[in-house]
């Protein structure tokens, strides 16, 4: 099981305690502070890091070099930027923004079909181009954030998820889908071509307390234990710091045979302790 450093602590996110989240953000107020922490975590032994495409995160993967054996897991889009845009100016403003920010070549070669079909599927690669830094190392994982994955699931537009995966693969990266509804997403992925499934990683919540595990811990456990063509990465494994005992959380995760886990902390000692506990 590979271990990936999460990014919640860099951006003040804590799903269990908002005040704690705000405090950790102060520690990582610069790109350099984040890079230093990532490097130290990699030195401890972690197999890579995850980072979101927000204003700071967008710059991180091209600001320093990881050893070639280590992995970058990069998530798109930055939800709050787009949510603010839609809140203030409506959904069509979002489309206008995408066209305005895209390169001319991207618009000429990738947009005409959208203008004809009006199908969002035909503009996905333009959106992806906006969110991924041009020099993101090849073979990095590029994930679709759960707010988008799960919305698309709800709209029953599974074709968009397949198109996302294909667009990411065409760019030389491996696709990832973050979801809070893994069993529903699994039904969709089963219909993807095998070659897409083999490149794919699905990221979802799983932990001993069942916090933010939907529809239930028991059902998601069964899903994890089932063999799939794609890889699985568990997140929220420590219940956002709200678990009764870190030891219980880690022992539970070790029973599940996940391909990856992702976790964070603002304290390197905790990273090291968790790394050793998961490795043992």
């Amino acid at each position: 099981m590979k271990q990936i450093l999460g990014d919640n602590q860099f951006f003040g996110i804590n799903h269990n305690d908002l005040e704690k989240g705000n405090k950790t953000k102060e520690q990582f107020s610069s790109k350099e502070a984040i890079i230093e922490f990532i490097n130290k975590s990699i030195f401890i032994g972690l197999d890579g890091y995850m980072i979101n495409s927000n204003e700071i995160g967008f710059k991180i993967p091209t600001s320093f070099q990881l050893p070639s054996s280590k992995e970058i897991h990069y998530s798109v889009p930055y939800p709050h930027k787009y949510a603010s845009m839609v809140n203030e100016n409506g959904m069509l403003y979002l489309l206008k923004y995408i066209f305005k920010q895209s390169s001319l070549s991207s618009l000429i070669f990738k947009s005409p079909k959208f203008l004809f079909t009006r199908n969002v599927k035909d503009i996905l690669s333009v959106i992806i181009d906006l969110e991924i830094p041009t020099k993101l190392p090849k073979n990095s994982y590029v994930y679709l954030q759960n707010i988008v994955t799960d919305l698309v699931l709800g709209l029953k537009r599974e074709d968009l998820l397949l198109e996302f995966c294909n667009a990411v693969r065409r760019k030389g990266y491996k696709p990832g889908l973050i979801t809070l509804n893994p069993t529903r997403l699994d039904v969709v992925i089963q219909k993807f071509p095998i070659e897409v499934q083999k490149d794919l990683v699905v990221c979802f919540n799983i932990n001993v307390t069942g916090f933010n595990v939907f529809p239930s811990r028991e059902i998601v456990e069964e899903y994890v234990k089932t063999k799939h063509n794609y890889k699985k990465i568990g997140m929220g494994i420590l219940s956002s710091g709200g678990a009764h005992s870190i030891e219980d959380s880690i022992q539970y995760i070790k029973t599940l045979n996940l391909d990856y886990v992702v976790y964070g902390s603002s304290n390197l000692k905790n990273i090291e302790a968790n790394y050793n506990a998961l490795k043992s």
Partner: protein, 312 residues
Amino acid sequence: MKEKSIVIYGFGRMGLTHYAILNQLIDNIDVTIVDLDKKVNFIAKKNVRAKIEADNNKLKNAFDIAIICTPPMYHVPTVNYCLKRGDKTIFVEKPFGGVNEDYSFIEEHSDRVKIGFVMRFLPVINWLKENLVVDDIIKFKGSYFSNSIVKKPKGWRNGNYSGVCNEMGSHIIDLSVYLLGFKEFQISNKKIKSIVSDTDDIVTFNLETNSILCEFHFDWVNKNYRKPVFNLEITLKDGNYYRVDQQKVELFDKDGELLTKITAVDFAATVPYYLRGVEFTRQMQDVISKQETLASVEEALITRRIIKNILG
């Protein structure tokens, strides 16, 4: 055979969210989306598996459920139309119209209308509703902070149907109505500031009801907040007090010592399909089932009267 016929008015962020959730909660649904914006319809027709309609007058047959997510100036006429058409359940997004609307027809048919104050469905609020004894409460403080508005909004969002009181404060005011159960009140010490928009950006006021003093503070131009955060502080007669936010309930004694803490992890709330928060799914589950937690017209109009008193 289709199980439920649903019409959704307004296909912005909330219309999209409710549609996605209902699409997952109900196996067979027949959805019609009505939006006056031709550009939205132009895109929606090719991307959403629903009937798209710009002209409401063409929809003559009653629906099982009407979901109204339009800008608030269209709430009252749309609800009236749905009532006359015979729609069985009508769900209207908050803030439910404006301060100067005529709600009389809706009040006459209020049993079919519910209003979407989604924070009622948060696990922390559910816990408070089950555990608070209103007669023990002497003070209620409610606040809502965010950095939602960084540039002056355009259109109706910069007018008197918008503002922090309507858009965000209405949630907290509704929580006070829901938890404290009052109908009559007196407002004092109101202060309103416009900072970024031309409408209210920061609002503070006091409200007295049933021997409970309530203090409210809403601010949606606060750069210290990445995500919207609400807080409640509820003081009891014995001096103990609760502090509540989206994620936890803490009980302190009168000296500030923590007595009990219950967090989101302890609640471990689950839903069959998650999008944006358990409260959004739970709200739609209530729409399609018992409707026990949704705000009634009477309750929503108390919130309306409070906001009208504040904004004038």
